[in-house]
């Protein structure tokens, strides 16, 4: 993609930033702080650029010149709402941005209700309706019993509207046991995830930056 010199310069630049961030492991230092601030600044600029490349240009500008008639002029509405959103930067008239935010929040809430009921609640409840008895021997259904018990006791553990007393305390305790097993599994996978990220960076340092030693 890049010529020999540019590629080499880029790799050394990348290695500099990588080692600057890693230097934090010893202690906080100017190299780390510098790299961190460059990262935050670049991220902020990317979001501004993306706004224009993926939103304003295709959805407003190109659409306005591509469409005709009603479809063309109706775009004034989202354009006006977008400008209202930007009034948030001006303290005296920032209250106007509430109209745009209200629209966004309303749509989000509407989508959340339909999505949650149709996409989570009903399929997940349906998935929990598994046979607990049948023609096979008991061991065939053990996993189903564990599934149903796990779901119910987990839900019950997080139900704080009634006092967990007596038998209810036993249910909550069973719930916490299931939860701890699940969190242990989640921790195991989280370790795998974090180590993978480190593998990626060390791979770059060994095989791209120090490629003259490691091929």
């Amino acid at each position: 993609m890049y010529s020999g010199f540019l590629h080499a310069f880029g790799v050394w630049l990348a290695a500099f930033f990588t080692l600057s961030i890693f230097s934090f492991l010893y202690k906080d230092n100017p190299f780390y702080k510098f790299a961190e601030h460059i990262y935050v600044g670049s991220s902020a600029a990317y979001w501004i650029l993306y706004l224009f490349v993926f939103d304003v240009k295709p959805l407003l500008w190109d659409a306005f010149f591509r469409n005709t008639g009603f479809e063309k002029w109706i775009l004034i509405v989202p354009f006006a709402l977008s400008l209202m959103m930007l009034t948030r930067f001006i303290p005296n008239i920032s209250w106007i941005s509430r109209y745009a935010i209200a629209f966004v929040v309303g749509i989000g809430a509407g989508l959340a209700i339909t999505g949650s009921i149709q996409g989570i609640l009903i399929p997940q409840l349906k998935g929990t309706l598994v046979p607990l008895f049948g023609k096979e021997n008991f061991w065939h259904y053990v996993n189903n019993w564990i599934l149903v018990a796990g779901v119910l006791t987990t839900l019950f553990y997080f139900y704080f509207s009634i006092h967990h007393r007596g038998i209810l305390r036993g249910l909550a305790k069973t719930g916490i046991i299931f939860i701890m097993i699940a969190f242990g599994a989640a921790f195991g996978y989280t370790v795998m995830a974090r180590v993978s990220l480190l593998i990626g960076r060390i791979h770059f340092l060994l095989f791209e930056w120090l490629s003259f030693i490691f091929h």
């Binding site: 492991l25 010893y26 991220s43 990317y46 993306y50 706004l51 993926f54 939103d55 295709p58 959805l59 190109d62 659409a63 591509r66 749509i107 989000g108 989508l111 339909t114 999505g115 949650s116 149709q118 996409g119 989570i120 399929p123 997940q124 349906k126 998935g127 599934l147 699940a182 599994a185 989640a186 996978y189 989280t190 370790v191 795998m192 995830a193 180590v195 993978s196 990220l197 480190l198 593998i199 990626g200 960076r201 060390i202 791979h203 060994l206 490691f214």
Partner: protein, 280 residues
């Protein structure tokens, strides 16, 4: 005896910089030795692989890039393996994304693998890009993709691209593969699958993999390719080992190291606790 207890108690007080050093050494050494290891693929990945294997030549597959460079080491090898599988089976690839910071990664992989298999842009694959909106984009695509993506990333109208000519909504897409580093996968399931019946396979970081098992059991997704292990599994199934498989040796070493450190920490803790009880 006291000396043994002193040593055991010390095991619970190791300075963290020594731990960092051990982690660094145990990562670098296996990587430098470049062992690639064959793994036995897990059930969820095999099912995902077989689902794609059973698709017909010419079927459209939508890939959604929902990760950024922070998750690249896990999901990029996965993407390469999946693309190789899709192109080998002569499936048509439509790529888009909900995480704009990761889109260039997806685009790079798509162009590289397409070149390997002599695939032509516009005929065999297309890159649509990103639109803000998340779940709104997913719902809008259910009626007409052109409502959201009137043109591809380069401004070419979709109707002039053979691969997109007969593709209007999820009914025309055989499979959606979401590569997830956050909660976008949940939205794909809630909207694309639940509302429009789109078949979905989710590749994800290991952090969120445990959260997807309820969808898998309920039949809302057809497979889970979780973390670097999932990437290594898929590489093994496709038959071309890459960075996923290289990383498995390192994973083994580091996992064992961390368990050893946890044991040390607990030994030190229990010895200290016993000593404190005795002194009281």
């Amino acid at each position: 005896m006291k000396k043994i207890y002193d040593i055991l108690e010390f095991l619970g007080k190791i300075d963290r910089r020594w731990i960092f050093l051990f982690v660094f050494v145990f990562t670098t050494l296996p990587l430098a030795l470049k062992f690639k290891v064959r793994v036995t693929p897990t059930e969820e990945v095999k099912i995902a692989f077989n689902y794609i294997e059973n698709l017909k030549e010419g079927d459209r597959v939508l890939i959604s890039i929902d990760y950024d460079p922070a998750s690249m080491p896990e999901l990029q090898p996965m993407l390469y393996a999946i693309l190789r599988h899709l192109f080998r089976k002569n499936l048509k690839v439509i790529m888009m994304g909900h995480w704009p910071l990761g889109l260039p990664l997806g685009k790079t992989a798509l162009e590289e693998v397409a070149k390997e298999y002599n695939k032509k842009y516009g005929e065999d694959y297309v890159f649509l890009g990103f639109r803000p909106g998340g779940s709104a984009v997913m719902v809008a695509m259910g009626s007409e993709i052109r409502n959201v993506f009137a043109a591809d990333q380069y401004g070419t109208p979709l109707d002039s691209l053979p691969v997109m000519r007969d593709v209007h909504n999820y009914d025309d897409i055989a499979l959606l593969i979401g590569l997830e580093a956050g909660s976008t996968g949940d939205f794909w399931v809630q909207f694309a699958n639940a509302r429009f019946g789109q078949e979905i396979i989710l590749g994800c970081t290991a952090v969120i993999a445990p959260n997807l098992y309820p969808y898998y059991q309920a039949g809302q997704i057809r497979g889970i390719i979780g973390g670097l292990r999932g990437a290594a599994d898929y590489e093994n199934l496709v038959g071309k080992l890459g960075t996923g498989s290289i990383g498995m040796w390192v994973q083994s070493a580091i996992h064992i190291l961390i368990i050893i450190f946890i044991i040390f920490g607990n030994v030190g803790y229990f010895v200290l606790r016993r000593r404190r009880k005795r002194s009281v």
